[in-house]
Structures are given as structure tokens and as C-alpha cells.
Amino acid sequence: MKWIPTALVLAAAALLPLLGGDFYVNLASQILVAVLMAASLNLLVGYAGLTSLGQAAFLGVAAYTCAWTGVKLGVSPVVAAGLACLMTLAVSALFGAIALRASGLGFLMITLAMSQVVWGLAYRLVAISNGDNGISGIVRPSPLGLSLDSPGAFYWFTLLVVVLALWFIAILVRSSFGATLAGTRDQPQRMAALGHNVWLIRFAAFMISGFLAGIAGLLFVWYNKYIHPSALSMTASAEALLAVIAGGSGTLAGPVVGAAVVVLLKNYASAYVERWNMMLGFVFLLIVLFLPEGIVPGVKRLLGRGR
């Protein structure tokens, strides 16, 4: 019976474009992209025990590759998407090889420094990225000849992609690979003594995480039809990390809830408060000080206590 809540949420999500207006449908698309971003990061933070502060770099690499090849080279959206995936995998391999020389806070500092370098490139490498002007004029793909230009159609497409990705993550973390990954998180030395290649397991997780963030980047750039360096700023990486921590790292539902909370906060609160960054900072403080385990485990604990 554990599948009933999931099925209800899915059904409600699928029916949304029939019930809500364009504003809500677009907001839901944004939430879905943030969910995929947070879920990809959760693979590292929650399951591999590697806290990265540079996840937005992968979103940015995919989005910029897709935008640049599509707009400046004029390739079709599908080819652009393929190139973006390849590029994201290549950058993930490079970053993973460097960052995984360390773990813990060293890993965090290296991922942060590297993603800031990508962010700096997006600003400075004007010949490719258009710098502060960003790249506009990106065309959404039309899979099987279906146009994705209406908010509802794009939402359904995004929902399909994100649900497939989440399903993949759910299978992955319950597989023997997931168990080994959790082993390298909790007891890296014992895992190494048992003959597991800890580095390779972490590297695989890093690649998968980067690839999924790249998929989120494709959805992001298709949704906005525009890309700007701010999409890969430290704030963007921090928002993804906040979504993971707030929802509950190392749980499947955590990043979904966390990302929804962060996007809704950002959209609704910024209508009343002008200063989103300051609020983001305070939310970080409050979550870490008062709800360190996250919303999903916290609520579970409260429900368990009630029984």
C-alpha cells in the first residue's frame, strides 16, 4: 500500500494543466526542474555523503551547450540536447576526477571553486556565452512531432522526464550499487578493505549526478528559452543544496518536497519581500538550527510519535 500516496501525487500532478491556469502550470514546471536538480544533488549529498556546492555548474554546462549549438550553430534541438549531454558527461568526468581527490569539506571547497570558474567563464567568455546579455532564441524540441510551445504541453513533457529520472534514482539507490554507495558513505575504510573500489563508486555516482543535473539544465533552458550566467551562480547551487537539506537528504521524497518549498518561497515571498537572497540566508539558518534532519524525516518522526 506504500505506492498509494505516490500514485495520488502523480495523478494530481498529471491533471494539473486541466485544472490550473497558465501561471500555475508554469510555476509547476519550474518546481519540476528544481526537483530534478535537487534529486541529482541528493544522490551525492544523501547517498554518497559528498556535499557539493557546485551542482549548478552542470545545469549551466548543459544549458549553454544546448543554447550555443542550437542558436549559433543552428543544429536541431534534439542534436543540441545530445551534444549537451555529452558535454555535461565530459565536464562531470573532469570535475569528478579532480574533486574526488578529497572528501568532506575539501570536496565541498573544490566543487565550489570549480563551479565558480564555470560561472566566471559564462560571464567572461563573451564570444561563446554573450556574457551578461545571455543567449536567447532557444527553440524547444518537438518530440514525435508534438509541439511543446504551450505551457501545458511543456509541463507534461517535463513531468514525464522528471518522473522517469526519479524512478531511475529510486531503482538505483535500492540496487546493489546503491547499497555499495551507502557503504562508501558510512564506512569508506571498511568498504575499501572489503575490496570495493571506493573512488570508482564515488566517481560513478558523481557522473550520474552530473548527468541528471544536465538533464535538468536542458529542461531549464527549454523552459526559459534563454540562459544567463546567474543560472549557474553560487546562489543557484546553494538553492539546490537548500532544497536537499530542507526536504531531507538521503530520502527519495525529500528533494521533491524541499525543491517545491524553495521554489514556492522564492515565487510567493519575493512578491512581498524584495530581498530573496537575504531570505534564502535566513531560511538556511533556521533549517540548520531547528530542522537539521529536514522536512520529510521530521514529519515522519512526528507522525511516528503520534501513533
Partner: protein, 288 residues
């Protein structure tokens, strides 16, 4: 020739500023195992405080305003350590997230208080005047910044290696549990070190003002440079921070001047090489 001399001087000045930023970061990380992501924001806050102090009273002078701004930022750092980070002493990830959150709060508060336009920080006329040596023009102020960085490095070296309190800090770095057991007030040292690191960053920000101006986003520009410096030099090592600062100062300055589009990638290279060959950094004793 003039180009190379001026760029060398710019590199040395940037290296000096980076040392003022990175030495505190490295000390805090070495002693407390906290990756203090607020450090870039402390630097920027110092620059803004210095700019407003000098604007409020022109006669105050750069040195007094650097001192005042440094003290103010040190006090803020002390409050952060004492009332927030202390509560999370068993949760290193939580500490990083809190420092990140506080850096967003400080950055946004600066934007609110000082606006979005860069605020230039004036220097006194004596410091602004160029120097003529052997027919070449030297910007005096850059030399002064370099001098300040070298003096601070010496002072920190003496403090850490020649004084009783420095010996206690080093003991705390090497083995906090044992240091506590033999009666060293480790938690008071934590607060002190945090204040010291934050204060140096704040004062460094004021000194950076005449070169960079105080501008929004300064924190996000400076923090990765500081991270790269300490990754390169080795966390917890003063010597590492010193050498790393000047390496990055040179690479960044010449990178911007010679290949402006790729300066960020070049910055990345020494870090990759060091991490590949010696993950603990050039002078580090701790694995990060």
C-alpha cells in the same frame, strides 16, 4: 617593459590582498575545521565600511578606517562563532551551510544599505601619488598594500610560532581533544581565532577598496580566489596561504592582461596540478 613592471606590481598587490583574505580562512579551517564561506562577505563588508567611514570623515585616513572596519568585522565574526557556530559544533555540514546563509544575508544587507553602484574608496594624496624610480612610474599604493601583507604575514608568524597563545592555537590545530585535556581553553581560542580571521579579512577589504572599489558581488568574486589559494597552499598553513596568494595573484593578473577570455581557466590549472599530485596542498599538513 613598463607593462611587465606594472603587471608584476599589480600581481604583488593582488597577492597581498589575497593573503589578507586567505590567511584568516586557512587559520579558521585549520583550528576549527570550519570552511567559513562568510569570508568573502567579511571582505566585502570591510570594503563598504571603509568606504563609508572615509566618506563620512575624509580626515580619518585609510589606516584608521581599516582598523575600525577590521574591529567591526571581527566583532561580527565573534558573534557568529559564539552564538551560531558553537551550537553546531558536532555538525560540520551544518556549520558550512550556516556560514553560507550568513554570507547571503551580509551580501544582501550591503546591497540594501549601499546600493548597486560601485563605491570608490579614496586614498590620501601621498598614497595616490605615483613614485618615480629609475625612470619608471610605480603606483605607490600597490607597494603599500604589498608591504602591509608582508608585515601581517610576519606578525601572524610571530603570533603563531613565538608566543604562548600561538603555541596554544597550534596545539589546538594538531589535537583539539588533547589540548583541551591539558587545560588549554580551546573554545575561547576558537572565538579568538574566528575574530582574528574575520578582522584581517575586514581590514583587507578596506585596503582593497582603493584598487577594486566596494561593489556588490565582490564577495562572490573573492571567495573562490580564497578557496583556490588555500586548496593550493594547503589548509591550516600560513606559509601555504602566503605562497598560494602570490601564485594566484600573478596567474590571475597576467591571465586577465594577456588572455582575458580564459583568465578563469588558467586560474584553475595550478589547482588541478596540485590536487592531482599533492591533495593536501603545497604546505598543508592536514588532508582537507
Amino acid at each position: 617593459m613598463q607593462f611587465w613592471i606594472v603587471q608584476t606590481l599589480n600581481s604583488l598587490a593582488l597577492g597581498g590582498l589575497l593573503f589578507l583574505l586567505a590567511s584568516g580562512f586557512s587559520l579558521i579551517f585549520g583550528l576549527m575545521r570550519i570552511a567559513n564561506l562568510t569570508h568573502g562577505a567579511f571582505f566585502m563588508l570591510g570594503a563598504y565600511l571603509g568606504a563609508s567611514l572615509l566618506r563620512y570623515d575624509h580626515d580619518l585616513g585609510l589606516w584608521v578606517s581599516a582598523l575600525l572596519a577590521g574591529l567591526a568585522v571581527a566583532a561580527l565574526g565573534g558573534l557568529l562563532e559564539r552564538f551560531v557556530l558553537r551550537r553546531l559544533s558536532r555538525n560540520p555540514l551544518g556549520q558550512v551551510l550556516v556560514t553560507l546563509g550568513v554570507s547571503f544575508i551580509i551580501a544582501d544587507a550591503c546591497l540594501m544599505a549601499f546600493g548597486g553602484d560601485p563605491i570608490p574608496v579614496p586614498t590620501s594624496r601621498a598614497l595616490a601619488r605615483p613614485m618615480f624610480v629609475a625612470g619608471f612610474v610605480f603606483p605607490t599604493y600597490r607597494l603599500v598594500v604589498l608591504g602591509v601583507a608582508i608585515l601581517s604575514a610576519l606578525a601572524l608568524h610571530i603570533l603563531l610560532d613565538r608566543t604562548r597563545i600561538g603555541a596554544m592555537i597550534r596545539a589546538g590545530v594538531d589535537d583539539p581533544a588533547m589540548a583541551r585535556a591539558i587545560g588549554i581553553p580551546v573554545s575561547r581560542l576558537f572565538t579568538l581565532t574566528f575574530c582574528l580571521g574575520a578582522g584581517i579579512a575586514g581590514a583587507g577589504g578596506v585596503l582593497a577598496g582603493p584598487i577594486f572599489s566596494a561593489y556588490p558581488g565582490m564577495d562572490a568574486d573573492m571567495l573562490p580566489l580564497a578557496l583556490i589559494v588555500v586548496i593550493l597552499g594547503g589548509v591550516g598553513s600560513l606559509m601555504g596561504a602566503f605562497v598560494g596568494s602570490f601564485i594566484i595573484g600573478f596567474i590571475y593578473t597576467f591571465g586577465i592582461a594577456l588572455v582575458p577570455d580564459l583568465a578563469y581557466v588558467i586560474l584553475f590549472l595550478p589547482m588541478i596540478i596540485v590536487i592531482a599530485l599533492r591533495p593536501r596542498g603545497l604546505f598543508g599538513r592536514l588532508a582537507a
